[in-house]
Amino acid sequence: MTQLPGLLDTEAIRKDFPILDRVLHDGKKLVYLDNAATSQTPRQVIDVLDEYYEQHNANVHRGVHVLAEEATALYEGARDKVAEFINAPSRDEVIFTKNASESLNLVANMLGWADEPYRVDHETEIVITEMEHHSNIVPWQLLAQRTGAKLKWFGLTDDGRLDLSNIDEVITEKTKIVSFVLVSNILGTQNPVEAIVRRAQEVGALVCVDASQAAPHMPLDVQALQADFVAFTGHKMCGPTGIGVLWGRQELLEDLPPFLGGGEMIETVSMHSSTYAPAPHKFEAGTPPIAQAVGLGAAIDYLSSIGMDKILAHEHALTEYAVKRLLEVPDLRIIGPTTAEERGAAISFTLGDIHPHDVGQVLDEQGIAVRVGHHCARPVCLRYGIPATTRASFYLYSTPAEIDALVDGLEHVRNFFG
């Protein structure tokens, strides 16, 4: 067994994840390396979900019966956990959504309907980057189309990093919002938040950080980031599907208009007009994903009990090892940074001219789950002139042995199509 410094006790951790025992294709043990797409769910979270439905299920808020009070306490307790997890100054800054995509659309729509000074309109500019996930591209394209605002972006360097050389031309006095990914889901790149935030603050633009690939993997401190909005998603951090988070600075959430209208988000309604509840409720229309928020709270408890700094160190060690081993495979080209510095644990690559679909399929036959395609970041593939990549991505339960299995699997792929 390969021993790397900084690894977690994966033998113990893996026992928490029932799915990791799965055996595929007549006897192949599951090697799950698709964590950037979604993470697996520990027993501790599944149990909390069960307990919710078996003991406490009720609609939240306004109920005077025991179940409603319990469900409300659990739901709002999950908000407290999220706030603490990201070091939010106030729990009221934590909005529950259904996924990171909704969180990002929420920001785009708030700004589209806002009054000055926030309003995005035809005289203003929106800035994103070429390495965004489609969920941080399309909402801004829609906003630009619908308001006439101009959409601009940072390009990429050949080695998979943001090209900030023209930052003063990209972010200008006209810029209202800069939205970018903290850790890229396709390249693995971790972006230099400080430089971007500094320039945005200079011109008075708001900053939105897509932390979907960061929140699961490293300590996240929204105050240290100095961003105005931070979005992430539960299913990538050991939580259930169907739950996302948008954190926003309190005074912004007070000033900005609501997005979805409905029950729970109002103060008072008449047929002629309505007033809205204070944030976060203003942005949570309808019955929220109650069990899912509670499940996310349990996931946060789980991750915190292990320690986000330890998880970061574990993944860093794995990434270092994986980069080294992968570069030993002939014809393998990593798309993105080729060292473990300033990068997360998602590694994209091409393998000669074997199509990623074929790579993924033959790996699957050996029980190895990777993702192939454009990973919802097609502009990155266009930028590097490739149709798609194969991506392996790790998490707290990943092991060096799984990386070895991947490398062996890739050798097999090469022989198969050779």
């Binding site: 808020h61 306004r62 109920g63 005077v64 409603a68 009070e69 409300t72 306490a73 103060e267 008072t268």
Partner: protein, 151 residues
């Protein structure tokens, strides 16, 4: 949660009805529709009267009655201390067991200790107290005394 004291105040409210005042406020609890119109009358810094009209649940009604009983005739500073102690009790989520010192300050109002366990009802208990605080600052600041506010 429904202490005898609370039910008594609910059934036989003290000082209910609107009388002359230096300032009037109207507060609403939007989640349940409880409403109160409340006036304060000061003689210098002494509370001469707190008069009110309202509709709502027993908790909000009894709480207004208790407020009237406790505050009328008191000095502002003492009344503020009572209000703050009551607020602290109500926000305690059932974790404060009122001791003798607290009972001395709150008198009948300690009966609301049990209500603090019910998040949905805490606002009902606080409605009149928030209204009183608001009315007081309007009356003593002089300005805006007639303005209606909604909390």
């Amino acid at each position: 949660m429904y202490q005898e004291v609370i039910l008594d105040h609910y059934k036989n409210p003290h000082g209910r009805g609107l009388r002359d005042g230096d300032a009037e406020v109207h507060h609403v609890n939007p989640t349940c529709g409880d409403e109160i119109t409340l006036r304060v009358k000061y003689d210098g810094t002494t509370i001469e009267d707190v008069s009110y009209e309202g509709q709502g649940c027993s908790i909000s009604q009894a709480s207004a009655s208790v407020l009237n009983e406790l505050l009328v005739g008191k000095e502002l500073a003492e009344a503020q201390k009572i209000q703050e102690t009551f607020l602290e009790l109500m926000q305690s989520k059932g974790k404060i067991e009122p001791d003798d010192a607290m009972e001395d300050v709150l008198e009948d109002a300690v009966a609301f200790a049990g209500v603090s366990k019910y998040p949905a009802r805490v606002k009902c208990a606080l409605l009149s107290w928030t209204a009183w605080k608001d009315a007081t600052s309007q009356a003593l600041d002089g300005a805006d005394a007639e303005k209606e506010t909604t909390a």
